[in-house]
Symmetry: C2
């Protein structure tokens, strides 16, 4: 609010009250609904316009920086693959070897190295992968591998819960922080009482801190109901230390609540 606005302080304290009209919703409002003066609202609108413009500019920049994804090339279109200067192949080791006709994902060493410090070390240090031009990725489906590579090129991927888990594991293994955070956010948006134990166990295993804390809170808030789930019993069998962690958090919450009441 600039200091130049003139406020008439002499004559308006007692007068016929006119209701004011909101310049946004056009409805009338009284003093209890008073929001801003005109100048402040107009400033806020300008800010909004500027922010929207900045968003458009950033979107253009993203479009410019995004790489064409090589995931649609495979052996059957080796000519277009080679014409895109790919110099390395990724093979999901759950599948058969590339030499035996299994699908593989062609890629560029420079793109992999720029996105992942693990690939960078692997490819720059004349290791087996660099010499052979083939990187075997273990315990991953071909679909997950394709999506992983696509994300490294484009920063875009369509997720469901299973794919978000698969990609989070890959992102952790190859230290692609940005993808890991993307998958974690997706899983947090899908968190509910039904999958809370699964999310808690998964996030504990893969150091997904935000998902871990949020799922733990959800469980602690619904202890009575959730400990009757099959998933609870499964986790007790499989990883009792995690369950201990839950009870410790539950106890701490009880103590805090009691202390707050005193």
């Amino acid at each position: 609010m600039s200091s130049t606005r003139l406020v008439d302080t002499t004559s308006t304290t007692t007068t016929t009250k006119k209701k004011m009209k909101c310049i946004s919703c056009k409805e009338e409002y009284g003093s209890s609904d008073a929001g801003t003066c005109k100048e402040c609202y107009e400033e806020a609108s300008e800010t909004e316009e500027e922010l929207k413009q900045e968003i458009e500019e950033l979107k253009s920049k993203v479009a410019f920086l995004r790489f064409p994804s090589p995931v649609d090339y495979n052996r059957s279109s080796s000519s277009s693959s080679s014409s895109c200067f790919t110099d390395v192949f990724l093979v999901a080791s759950d599948d058969h070897d590339r030499d035996k006709g299994a699908p593989f994902v062609p890629a560029h060493k420079t793109v992999l190295a720029s996105r992942s410090p693990v690939f960078k070390a692997m490819l720059e240090n004349e290791m087996e992968e660099s010499r052979s031009g083939t990187i075997r990725i273990s315990d991953v489906s071909y679909d997950a591998l394709r999506n992983f590579v696509q994300y490294l090129y484009t920063a875009e991927v369509s997720l469901d819960e299973q794919m978000a888990c698969d990609l989070l594991v890959l992102a952790e293994k190859y230290e692609v922080k940005y993808l890991k955070s993307h998958c974690e956010k997706f899983l947090m948006s899908k968190l509910n009482a039904e999958n809370a134990f699964m999310c808690f166990a998964f996030s504990s295993q893969h150091y997904a801190k935000n998902l871990h804390e949020t799922s733990l809170s959800l469980i602690v808030e619904n202890m009575d109901k959730l400990t009757k789930q099959e998933e609870y019993q499964e986790l007790v069998e499989k990883d009792p230390r995690l369950i201990v962690g839950i009870y410790e958090a539950y106890l701490a919450k009880q103590v805090n609540t009691a202390a707050a009441k005193d």
Copy 2:
């Protein structure tokens, strides 16, 4: 504004007027300064928060997609250059040949091809550049070439007016629309009466439409003053057809102004 807000329409039409307090600047305001109701202002503030969050997310995406620029490698650090898998050299043909020890810029075919359809055609079609691994760029300084390559990798470059002109020419030649638009915006931000003729001639030559129109308007609005400039006389000598275009725009404006008065 939601439809659930209750408005008391029965009792407040005649009463002691209370001045309202702006929830943004905290000052009091009367009906002539009325902006929005509380609810609309709070909605606008939420929108602003959301937009700011979107901006942060887009900035992270840009950081992820940005490539490490190879412009800092040269012959003296050939090991780090090769370890980054560069497979092509760009040479400013104003400088001496790479073989004769002049500086060059190493790069990746895949990056050049993804940013410029001209490089893509050149590199994918087994032309001389693709076979030799050397792309000669004519009529450009080494500095401009470095900045050009850096922009292709990072979408960032620091500009002054000369560099913006140099890069706009390169961006036009290699069809890097995003960079051309970036340089054009920069030049528009520097446009003034002093450089209007230069900008007008430059934008005409390089099909920079927005800069062309804006500089033409500026010239037409200041005809009397600007036609006394040295730059005007130079342009009359060098490219009289451009001057004709200016006078045609001036005439059209006069006619329009006269018509508007009638």
